[in-house]
């Protein structure tokens, strides 16, 4: 399941919903990413996240399909917020379910690396120093590269 929405994300409600679809799994992993209050440029007041539909959704769906190819995770849920949001609010929620925990952990980790580095989003931070479009961090790229296949 994939949702890109301007509305707020309620992680525990999303987890509750996901649990119902993942009957029979032995392991459920969830990840919630929140807008950080601290940034390099100072205290974060707000974040604006821009998507390009359907390219953004297509890219995320391809990452979900890839995760399902790599790991036995029959159930995957991704919800991503776009538009204006404030520090402390949830920006992304990912849940995976599998028979065994290693697959659930790795698939969630893999999806988060995609979402944090390769997903089609642009973001603008508003801090006490003003507004700025922000670029991906170097360690985000390093995280994503862990998943590269030798043939990539």
């Amino acid at each position: 399941m994939l949702t890109v929405t301007e509305g707020p994300l309620d992680a525990s409600a999303l987890l509750n919903e996901f649990e119902k679809t993942a009957m029979g799994a032995g392991a459920i992993v969830s990840f919630t990413g929140l807008v950080r209050a601290e940034a390099a440029a100072g205290q974060v007041k707000g974040l604006y996240l821009q998507a390009y539909s359907p390219m953004t959704e297509n890219g995320i769906q391809a990452a979900i399909d890839e995760a399902k190819t790599r790991w036995p995770v029959p159930n995957v849920s991704v919800a991503h917020r776009v538009g204006e949001m404030m520090a402390g609010e949830a920006i992304v929620f990912v849940a995976t379910a599998s028979v065994h925990r290693r697959a659930a952990f790795e698939a969630a980790d893999f999806l988060m690396d995609y979402l944090k580095t390769k997903a089609v989003f642009w973001k603008r931070e508003t801090t006490d120093q003003g507004e700025a479009w922000i670029e991906p961090r170097a360690d985000d790229y390093a995280d994503a590269e862990r998943w590269a296949k030798s043939s990539d």
Binding site: Q50, M55, R81, Y114, K116, F121, W122, R124, W133, P136
Partner: protein
């Protein structure tokens, strides 16, 4: 009229996230559109940067791809994830 989208920091430069543009006769490829718009916005090459990718109708393309009046053409600076 082609529909042109400017994502991320590019909209600060162009003053709008989207516009419709009548393509001049000199513009028949994505690369020629870059040149034309970079001059029009006095962007000093910001639209020519190789890290700025172009998508035509939601598909990333090379600069050699043809553009037409019915296309939606997006200028996309590096995506940073969410």
């Amino acid at each position: 009229m082609a529909r042109i989208l400017y994502f991320g920091r590019l909209s600060d430069l162009t003053g709008a996230a989207e516009e419709t543009v009548a393509l001049p006769d000199t513009v028949s490829t994505a690369g020629e559109l870059r040149q034309f718009l970079d001059l029009r916005f006095e962007a000093n090459g910001a639209l020519l940067e190789p890290t700025v990718r172009i998508a035509i109708n939601n598909e990333l393309c090379f600069d050699t791809m043809a553009v037409t009046e019915t296309d939606e053409i997006a200028f996309m600076p590096p995506v940073g994830g969410g």
